[in-house]
Amino acid sequence: MGIYALWWREFIVFRREKSRIVSSIVQPLMWLFLFGSGVGASINISDINYRDYIYPGILTMSVLFGSVFFGLYIVWDRKLDVLKAVLVAPVSRISIFMGKVLGGCTDVTLQILILFIFSFLFPSVNPWGIPLALLFLLITSIALVSLGLAIGSMLESLEGFQVVSTFVVFPLFFLSSALFPVDNKLPLWLQSLVKLNPLTYAVDGVRGALLNVSTFPFYIDFGIITFFAVIMFLLGSVLFSRMK
């Protein structure tokens, strides 16, 4: 089966790139223990230590970066003609797309699981919330890998990476309430942008599961992030099929 073949390939590559895995774990940990502890010395939010407060957001950040860049790497595959051999096989484009999405999600999920192991270092985190948080993150990953693949299939060169990073990934992260709560203390323009960002609902859902603190009800978080995933998946599969 074509999908499984591609997922298998991604898994091998993932296992092989150990340095990438290590840095993708260390970076969130730095956010948590350097930035989080630092700010947390002065600030608590909703009576929760700041470092614990941003734990869900940092997990989501990890998913965001890991997923989008995984998808964007398709530009590399195209440049190196690696994808050519796959595109010529009797496997449908949609199967290739799904294989890539599965592969990306697996990558990201494995990284997140390692980060979950550190959850005992965050006293406010409720370990029973992990499965639900994982579900949110998985759906978010599907959405973001699809987004990465969608953009990647349209990019002609590797210079696009910087542009995407600056104008897509960073705004999605900073405006997702990962680092600050969505409430009326925010100026109106910022509040609106944050509420328009689908990732806000992902972060909120994960935060609700792990810290029992959330701005929006569960069904809104879940509904929006799932809807976002479906749209991105469809968009990605269409653009991927049209590629080259």
Binding site: M1, A85, A89
Partner: protein
């Protein structure tokens, strides 16, 4: 039924007519070469047969499947080695083959055996666990050859298989191609602009230029059409009558202080020929090449674009000066 049947196949890219109505039948088991310069339409033709490019008009069937109507079936029957390498350099040789086997639906119980078989055929078994990034150019080609035949396709397409390789690697690659074609009983279709390649490897050659097939036959037959070998003798007063009556001479032409004689088997008859011509100043013999056939058919050289392997450096300089004009 031929393994590949092409009728009036055409491809136009906007205003450019890359392929202008090709009719061609390729028989099962043969090694067929498409010989022509860069831009002749070779890669486009192959692209259409592999279902990568959609024909503008005309039809083609491969192993009985129509390339437009049943592309997936065609792809299952086709192995391709592209001009540029397409190996997954992050994976090992073995993994590259395994990925291919999975994508093409090689049954799990046959996979390992088949991979080993192909690795042994191209002498890469020892390096199969190494990452392909560490392979040399020749090794990569061999692996791609093994990969192309892994799923036992009916036809293997090779696009410029020895482009950019050094002479020894080229010769070895030709040996591998022939060995594998014979062992696997696969039909091979290759494109090339190297006449030696067409001569040494192919059973039949189709000469293609500007999107049309100009001639198609076995390489030796094509060269026969030139009428024989060319012997150029610089001499003041050649006895034209005597030369013309020799049975093996097919044409005689006077040109600028030399006589150009087309004759059969110059290497056998040259001594006799020279004995009837007095005061010979110098002799040059040329056996016809496919390039000569090409020039006769199209009026220009095959290798206008690739001076890297032209016969003499003087030619290269001349060409270089010409282009500067």
């Amino acid at each position: 039924m031929s393994i590949i049947e092409i009728k009036s196949l055409t491809k136009t890219f906007g205003k450019i007519q890359a392929v202008r109505g090709i009719d061609l039948n390729i028989e099962k088991g043969e090694i067929f070469g498409l010989l022509g310069p860069n831009g002749a339409g070779k890669t486009t033709t192959i692209g259409m047969l592999c279902t990568i490019i959609r024909p503008t008009s005309g039809s083609a069937t491969l192993a009985g499947f129509d390339v437009v109507k049943n592309p997936a079936d065609v792809r299952r029957q086709v192995g391709i080695v592209f001009q540029d390498p397409t190996l997954d350099t992050v994976l090992t040789g073995h993994e590259n083959l395994e990925l291919h086997a999975r994508l093409y639906g090689v049954p799990a119980d046959q996979r390992e055996k088949r991979i080993t078989e192909m690795l042994e055929l191209v002498d890469l078994k020892g390096r199969s666990k190494d990452i392909t990034r560490t392979y040399s150019g020749g090794m990569r080609r061999r692996l791609e050859l093994a990969r192309g035949l892994l799923h036992k396709p009916a036809v293997l397409f090779l696009d410029e298989p020895t482009l950019g390789l050094d002479p020894q690697t080229r010769a070895r690659t030709w040996d591998y191609i022939k060995k594998m074609a014979q062992k696997e009983q696969t039909t091979v279709v290759l494109t090339t602009h190297y006449m030696e390649e067409a001569q040494l490897v192919c059973d039949r050659v189709g000469i293609i230029d500007q999107g049309k097939i100009m001639a198609m036959d076995a390489p030796d037959n094509l060269k026969e059409s030139m009428g024989g070998d060319l012997v150029v003798i610089r001499v003041k007063e050649p006895p034209l009558q005597k030369i013309q009556t020799l049975p093996y001479v097919t044409a005689v032409k006077l040109n600028d202080g030399a006589v150009e004689i087309t004759m059969k088997d110059a290497h056998l008859h040259l001594p006799e020929l020279l004995s009837i011509i007095p005061h010979v100043e110098c002799v040059e013999t040329r056996v016809p090449t496919l390039n000569d056939v090409f020039i006769k058919l199209t009026g220009h050289d095959i290798r206008e674009d690739s001076p890297e392997d032209s016969g003499s450096w003087v030619d290269s300089v001349a060409r270089y000066r010409q282009r500067g004009k």
